[in-house]
Subunit: 153 residues, 3 copies
């Protein structure tokens, strides 16, 4: 175990995986913020927080474009960051050069931050599309190394 924690590539993976997972978790309070300010909730029990009038509470059971946008961004994080974490962990164990590994981790994490900003602020395409593609390519590149180093079918 000490082995893993003395390995620089593994330490770098720990750092970047934790940062990008924390970024993903941040989408939850952001959704909460939009739900509060846009008064758009999914659960009847949530509408009681600041409002007691049943009629007004019923109106708060609605969808709002801003809330849906943040939720789609959160979902896209799940669909992309989870594969990065899984393949990145196995990649770190194949013993790549530290500089190559750092390049992969930094490009991926950077691309996901740009993706979130592009999505939440609804920047014109291809900003969001490009940042998504860059993240995908980085993960594919690590998957390629895993499959060429550790293939046992």
């Amino acid at each position: 175990m000490a082995d893993l924690m003395n390995n620089d590539v593994f330490l770098a993976f720990c750092t970047y995986a934790t940062i990008v997972v924390l970024k993903m978790m941040f989408m939850a309070p952001l959704t909460g913020y939009y739900r509060m300010t846009r008064k758009a909730f999914s659960n009847w029990e949530d509408t009681a927080i600041r409002q007691k009038d049943p009629e007004k509470r019923k109106k708060m059971l609605q969808t709002h474009p801003d809330v849906e946008r943040v939720r789609r961004c959160h979902q896209n994080d799940l669909e992309n960051i989870v594969p990065f974490v899984v393949i990145g962990l196995l990649y770190a164990l194949t013993g790549p050069d530290l500089s190559t590994a750092l390049l992969h981790f930094r490009v991926f994490v950077g691309s996901r931050f740009i993706h979130t900003v592009s999505y939440v602020l609804a920047l014109p395409q291809p900003s969001r599309g490009l940042s998504w593609v860059v993240g995908m390519i980085t993960t594919f590149s690590m998957a390629y190394r895993v499959l060429t180093t550790a293939l046992l079918l």
Copy 2:
């Protein structure tokens, strides 16, 4: 490898991670149960299971509040349990005290069971909100240790 399996913190992680992931997987048959009893399906081919009449089958292609509630609970599990598993694994490798690690794992897993019960039974707030916050704080606390022990940017 024997190393990892001789380490008590890692064994505890294996146990709690497996339990909480099994809990998350249980949401799928629960959704199926609600779909069956509420006759609310998403796919045309699923409506044929107990019904042959095309008119009645069309009516079963609907959403139902109970089904949507379980699905939101499942989604919330994905958004919270996946970060716990990733950060918890790295945390276990940083060599924390067994008692501190057990505290983190037990509080998180307990909070998610309370979260599921609060969500599915639609208990009044802040039961669900509090259990969600407790799980988030536990994961942040582990992430803090990972970043302070294993930082390599």
Copy 3:
């Protein structure tokens, strides 16, 4: 670390986990393909890619059954492949026989490919249901071994 990469069960896990995660990632471009060909988008900025007329762009902000089907398939992958990866990793570390481990990995990965084909082509039930159940049972079987070998509550 060299330890892990000299272990055949772990190498097999790396291979099958990477393959099935790549399969999951493939759902994203497939969704994009259906969005383009069915002209069904969620974001206003995405409708500008091939169309400048605001009236026509508004009509493209719609849902389409084919797009929703692929998205449900992607979601089902997240709900099933993520548990497999987590429990499979811990299972690989418990030191099972190579042949038993390979059986688990192959059956799971095969079941998910069949699941995707059944879902996207809307094959009649129980093709999709059965492939889903087989994947669940495989993951449960690995979880059983993890909990009986590595239990520390």
